[in-house]
Symmetry: C2
Subunit: 356 residues, 2 copies
DNA sequence: CATAGTATCGTAAACGTTTACGGAGCGCGT
DNA sequence: ACGCGCTCCGTAAACGTTTACGATACTATG
C-alpha cells in the first residue's frame, strides 16, 4: 500500500472509524463479529484495524460490558510455597491457557504478596473487577475465600480439593489413591513398617494423605504407629529431617513414602551418611514425578501425572460453571480427582528379607 | 452500628455518595487523598467505604486517567523454560512486589502461551493498556520486544541483560564474573582442562557466559578447546547428556562448570555409572545455588544469590524510569549486574594430582 | 403500487471514575 | 462596605467502548 495510512499507534475506535468513513458503531460491530454488518465492510474494517494496529482498549470495553475476558490464577507465594511449588504452577498454567485461548480468554497470574493476607488480597482483586473468573490454589482446610467468592458471585474453581461443606468446583491430584497404591506395593514387597512424611493437615492435601495412609494400613491389618508419621516441610531440607528422625527410632521402618519428590534428595543424603543405601536397605516411594527422579541414585520410584492435563481439566471445570460457557462444557460433576501413574524406579526395587 | 447500612456489595461510587449525602466528586477526592476536602468529611467517606466494602472499579478508573496501577511481568512458559525456571520467577516476584506494594502498585504475571508468538502476545497486552509498565524476561540476543515497547512509550525493564545497541533498563545475574571466579578456583586447584555446559548463545545469557569462559581461560594461558563446550538443556537430562559426551572424549576434562544447578543431578548419575566419583575424580561447579545443592552427594559447589533482592533491584530500576516515580528513585545507571557468592561444597574440594 | 420484511448502518446513551471549573461561604484587611 | 483569598464542595465533561433503538434503502409479496 503506497498511499497514505502511516501505521502510527491508534488512538481509539473513533479514529479508526473516521479513517474508514464509517460510523463508530458499525466499526465496533464489525470487529466483534456481530451479525448485522455487511461482509464487505467487515473485511474493510478488519483490514484497516490490522494495518493501523488497532486493538480495543480493555478498560473501555470492560467498563461498558462489565466483563474483562481475563481469568485470574491466584497463587500464594509464601516462603514455603516458593520453595516447593517448583514449576507446578507454570505447567498447570499451560494447560489452563490451552483451553482459555480457544475462547479468547487471557490468563493472568495474581501472586499474593508475602506480607498480605490472601483473603484481603483476593477481596481487593475481586472488588476491582479485573477478572471474570478466578482459580485459587493451595486451599486450606477451612478457607474463607470460598464464601467470599460465592457471595461476590464470581465464578471460580479451586486447584486443590475442598473438604468443607460448600460444594464448589475443584480438581485435585488423587493423593488418596496414590497412597493406597504405594502401600499396596510396599506391602507386596514384604514391608510392614512403612513410614510417611506428612505436611500439615491444615492443608487439605495433608489431611487427605494421612487419611488414605491410615485406611491403607488398616486394609492390610497393619497397626498405625504415630512414630512413623513425620511432619516435615516438602523440601530437600524436609527430607533430610525425615531421615534424621526415622534413624533415631528404635524400631526403624523398612520403607518410607515421601509426599514430595524433592524430599528424596535430602533423604538419600541423610541415610547414606548413616551407611544405609536406599533401594537396598530401605525402600523409598514418592509422589509428583519430576524429570530429576530417574537421575537420582537410585532412581526414585514415584507417581507421574500430566500436570498440563490437570490444567486442562481445571479450565473446563471452571468454564462449565460460567454461564457464558456452560453449555459448551456440560458437566455432571464439577469435582475431579486426578489420577497418577506409578513409575517404577530403583528406590524400592527389592524384596524385603522376612528375617525379622 | 445498629441502624441501617447493610453491608451489601457496593454498586459504585454513586451509591456511596448518595448514602453519605455528599456529591460524587467529593467522595472521589476524599478517597484519593486529594487536598481540597475537609478532613472531617474525608474520615466519614473512608469509614463508609470501609463499612460498605466499596473498592473503586478498576475499569472506570483506568479509562478516565489512562493508568492502571498495575505492572506486568511477562514470562514465556516455553516447554524448556518451564522445566528450568524452577521457582526463579516466583522468587523474583516477591522482590518486585515488596517494592511495588509501597506505591500501591499491583503486580500481575503475564504468561505467554506456548503456542503464541511472544512478540504478538506482548503487542496484544500493550495495546489493551492493561498495565502501566512491563518487565520482560528471557531476553533474546536480538529481541524485537525492545523496539515495540519503546515505540509504544510504555516503561519497561528487562530481567536479563541486553547486548543490542538500544539502551534500556535491565538487571541480570553476573554470569561473567561468576564464570571467571569458577575458572580461577578450578585452576587454583590444579585443573587445566575445564569443560562447560552452555545454553544456546541466541539467548544473552549463553553468549555472556561463553565469552566470560573464553576470557578466563585466556587469562590463565589455557587454550580454548571447542570439544569441551557442550551444548545441552539446562535440565537433569541435559546434565546427563553433558557427562555422556565428555566421557566419550579422548582427552577428558578434570573439571566441569555447569550453568544450572539442576544439571548436576543428571551429571552425577552419568559419571558414577562410569565409576567416576564427582569431587574425587572430577570437579563440578555450578550456578544458581538452590536448597538442594548441599544435599546432593557430594554437595555441589555453586554460586548463590538472593533472587528476591534481584527483584527489588529490578523494581527500583523500573520505577526510576517511570516519570511518576523517577524522582523517588534517582539513578545514575539503569543497568545492574547482580553479584553472586561462591558457596563451597564437596564437588570440587580436592587438589588435582598433577601426575599427567 | 402499497406494504411488509430484511439488511445495513448511524445515533446516542450508557458503564464508573476522575478532574477541571466554578460557586458558595467565610474571614480578614482596607 | 467592599474586595480578596481561602477552604470546601457540586457540576459536568471527559475517557473508549458496546449496544439498544431507530432510520434508511432495498427486496419481496400482496
Amino acid at each position: 500500500m503506497a498511499h497514505g495510512g502511516k501505521p502510527r499507534p491508534m488512538k481509539g475506535i473513533r479514529q479508526l472509524a473516521e479513517h474508514l468513513d464509517i460510523s463508530i458503531g458499525t466499526v465496533s460491530r464489525a470487529l466483534n463479529g456481530k451479525p448485522d454488518v455487511n461482509e464487505e465492510t467487515r473485511k474493510r474494517v478488519l483490514a484497516a484495524a490490522e494495518q493501523l494496529g488497532y486493538v480495543a482498549n480493555q478498560s473501555g470495553r470492560s467498563l461498558r460490558q462489565g466483563t474483562t475476558n481475563v481469568i485470574g490464577l491466584m497463587i500464594q507465594s509464601s516462603r514455603e510455597t516458593v520453595e516447593n511449588s517448583d514449576n507446578f504452577f507454570l505447567t498447570v498454567t499451560g494447560g489452563l491457557q490451552s483451553v482459555f485461548s480457544r475462547h479468547k480468554l487471557d490468563l493472568i497470574m495474581l501472586p499474593c504478596p508475602h506480607d498480605e493476607d490472601p483473603y484481603e488480597y483476593l477481596k481487593r482483586m475481586v472488588a476491582r473487577r479485573v477478572v471474570d473468573a478466578l482459580i485459587i490454589s493451595e486451599t486450606q482446610r477451612v478457607d474463607k475465600r470460598f464464601d467470599l467468592l460465592a457471595k461476590a458471585k464470581i465464578p471460580f474453581a479451586a486447584l486443590g480439593r475442598s473438604l468443607s461443606g460448600t460444594q464448589h468446583p475443584w480438581a485435585d491430584l488423587d493423593f488418596d489413591g496414590v497412597v493406597n497404591c504405594a502401600v499396596d506395593r510396599l506391602v507386596a514387597h514384604g514391608h510392614r513398617r512403612i513410614a510417611v512424611s506428612a505436611p500439615s493437615s491444615d492443608i487439605n492435601l495433608g489431611f487427605v494423605f494421612l487419611e488414605g495412609y491410615r485406611r491403607a494400613l488398616e486394609r492390610h491389618g497393619i497397626a498405625y504407629d504415630p512414630a512413623l508419621v513425620i511432619r516435615a516441610k516438602s523440601s530437600e531440607q524436609g527430607g533430610y529431617q525425615v531421615a534424621d528422625e526415622l534413624l533415631s527410632l528404635e524400631n526403624q521402618p523398612t520403607a518410607v513414602i515421601l509426599i514430595y519428590e524433592l524430599m528424596a534428595i535430602g533423604f538419600y543424603r541423610r541415610v547414606m551418611e548413616a551407611g544405609i543405601i536406599p533401594g537396598r536397605d530401605i525402600a523409598v516411594v514418592s509422589f509428583r514425578e519430576a524429570p530429576r527422579a530417574k537421575f537420582l541414585q537410585p532412581a526414585l520410584t514415584c507417581f507421574r501425572t500430566s500436570v498440563h492435563d490437570l490444567g486442562v481439566e481445571l479450565a473446563e471445570i471452571l468454564l462449565s460453571s460460567m454461564p457464558a460457557y456452560s453449555q459448551e462444557y456440560p458437566r455432571k460433576t464439577r469435582q475431579t480427582v486426578w489420577p497418577l501413574e506409578l513409575i517404577p524406579g530403583e528406590s524400592d526395587a527389592f524384596q524385603l528379607k522376612t528375617a525379622k
